[in-house]
Symmetry: C2
Subunit: 165 residues, 2 copies
């Protein structure tokens, strides 16, 4: 698939069947994430993969969209390592680049995913639940699996409405 | 090119020859950028393309790495529209995803690019120079062109050093 097609046809998918992504696919997803660019090449991202149902259902309690986490056979938690961070704005953009790499790779492989942000409202509670060290700040949860819903049309603003003269 | 190859072989390129990217390529770069995901699909990114040498050289004055901006036949300024923003952290990550889309598309087309962050130290001065409206906050400058330097090896942390158990 052409990369522009991959970019344009990627969608947030919120319901998954029971098929579990293979370990080799998960490793490639994480490889895509770790090869993102970052300021001073500081690589502020850290990753946690959760497939265990009990742990996943526990995590789901912290989101209004917990059903997506419960449905997904695998979720990826992306953290900012505050010990590595040198500029919060730039590090957040770098983490966004890392997440996008992982979404694009997954989509190119026929995997579905959903980038979940609302759970950040409970990021302190999630850290306690997972007994994380204090340098790790939750930046995103990404659900992965195989699509079990109709894929909707994507909508974006027209380019002319985004361009500054 | 396989998307994982595109991700892994992309490099920051800091010197360019005189060949100017075609308008159709620039439009595709911006299309890649506008199709990024964002929280609530708010699409907080705004873009400005500068090819004019006088304006580009003026911009270069605000960066210690102005030589990269002077060398590039085209620079893209990426802004956060503060009127559209709903959550600074999430919007910065979305803008990072948008920038990464544009870097990956460019690389897949044989175009070189460099994501410049240090110029954000002078973002207020850049806004004044460009007479921007107050809702636009500079998030990044990305230089584009055709590579005119040796491409170095990329370096990243090992996956085992990024994974949280």
């Amino acid at each position: 698939m052409d990369i522009l097609d991959t970019i344009i046809t990627r969608r947030s998918i919120r319901a998954y069947n029971n098929q579990i992504p293979e370990d080799s696919q998960i490793e490639n997803i994480l490889d895509a994430g770790r090869w993102a660019p970052s300021g001073l090449n500081n690589q502020p991202w850290r990753f946690m993969v959760i497939k265990d149902k009990t742990r996943k259902d526990g995590l789901a309690r912290f989101s209004e969209y917990g059903g997506i986490i419960e449905s997904a056979p695998m979720v990826l938690l992306v953290f900012m390592d505050k010990n590595t961070s040198y500029n919060r704005d730039k590090d957040l953009m770098a983490i966004g680049a890392s997440i996008q790499n992982m979404l694009l790779y997954a989509h190119s492989q026929g995997l579905a995913a959903c980038w979940l942000g609302e759970i950040l409202n409970k990021k302190v509670e999630v850290s306690k639940f997972l007994k994380l060290s204090s340098n790790l700040e939750l930046a995103a949860v990404v659900a992965y699996g195989y699509c079990d819903e109709g894929v909707k049309e994507g909508k974006r603003k027209m380019l002319k409405d985004l361009l500054i003269k």
